[in-house]
Symmetry: C2
Subunit: 210 residues, 2 copies
DNA sequence: TATATCATTGCAGTATCTGCACCGACTGCT
DNA sequence: AGCAGTCGGTGCAGATACTGCAATGATATA
């Protein structure tokens, strides 16, 4: 527990502790019984917290799993993506999205358990796609920034927007594909790059651009 | 489709009448107030039916809209797809899926209203994607049949399965893209073909840029 | 007509989620 | 230390989606 700030307030520390307690209790119960055989009340009892508190932290039951998996990372990673040149936009974008999910949350152990839960509950993986869809505008904006940084200009109105939307859809397709292929253990950056590249190659073949 | 038989039983006729009443009431209310501002009780009152009856016909609130939109059509259309040759597999598959949705249900007016509802409620369009995901195994089986009919053999174990899964994912991507582009009025087969082709072209560009 | 089937219903109950008001612990300032 | 304001946690009432069960009455069938 190397606390960067020596004091960040007792109130804030308690907050973090409460959230963490709920998350740990939820993940343990879900791992044991499966998502739909666990009720919010069960989680609250295990976490020694009222149901109302649970919903104060997580807007929904799914939120316990999904909230810690943001589809987009911080400003610096986005900036790196936007100003990268000479590499494939689609692959870079996939790397950006999957990289953010791989490093979700401060506790790597929780992230590992979460991935286990996703493997056993496909319905939750679908929830991740929903989150991504909800943030599509943000994704499109990022992609348009990249296009601009590359000096691309549209010959037709909305042309670049269309391409950005399509890339978002393709990202969801790859995500869906990799989820199906289980994508277990390893998450180091090199292997992730390889997996993404293979998926893109398969996509090219399926699309007929070989 | 039941106009041919003069008698198919009073019980059956009442059944379809009840289902139709619920569907019409639901669509009208949802068009007016939006999906999440309509409760099941409201629909039941308008359809003069108990809530229990509603859930006897439709497993869920979303089912009122989604049940009539099967992601795959009947045997004959599937057979046509499987044995088609010389055309692009992806485009044919897209045509198969979208064609089935365009001709959903016996009442074309209801189908038209349903499409309106989908445009105004993106969350319901996401529901369609979920249905498609639930039937992914069926979709993959169809695609493998097509591959077999084309005489394709896999050099590596699971190669064709991977490609089939990827095509399903790409289909979802195109569906997602077209939903975003609104895809209003026209549904005649020719225009649908054109729209699909354009989407695939855009996809090729997004996937092939270096 | 007698019997079986089945659509429909009411009812009780469970589960997710929300708005509201209260309490009490923390926090910042004096 | 004391005081006032903030805010996390809680209980409660209620809305809403959905399920199992048993009863009832209309329809089908023998």
């Amino acid at each position: 527990m190397t606390r960067g700030q020596p004091h960040e307030g007792l109130r804030e520390r308690k907050r973090v502790a409460t959230r963490s307690a709920i998350e740990r209790a939820a993940l343990a119960l879900i791992l044991e019984h499966g998502f739909d055989h666990v009720t919010v009340d069960m989680i609250c009892e295990a976490a020694m917290v009222s149901q109302r508190t649970f919903f104060n932290y997580f807007g929904s039951k799914e939120g316990v799993i999904l909230d810690a998996m943001p589809p987009f990372p911080g400003e610096e990673a986005v900036a790196t993506f936007v100003h990268a040149t000479g590499t494939d936009v689609l692959e870079d974008f996939l790397e950006l999205v999957f990289g953010s999910m791989a490093s979700a949350g401060p506790d790597p152990e929780l992230t590992r358990v979460r991935r286990l839960v996703f493997q056993r509950n496909p319905v939750l993986a679908a929830g991740l796609l929903d989150r991504m869809r909800e943030r599509e505008d943000r994704a499109v904006a990022i992609l348009l920034d990249r296009f601009a940084a590359e000096g691309r200009t549209s010959t037709r109105a909305g042309e670049l927007e269309d391409e950005a939307h399509m890339i978002v859809g393709l990202t969801m397709a790859v995500f869906h594909y990799l989820m199906r292929k289980q994508l277990e253990g390893r998450v180091d950056a090199d292997r992730r790059r390889t997996i993404i590249h293979e998926a893109v190659m398969l996509m090219r073949r399926a699309v007929g651009t070989v």
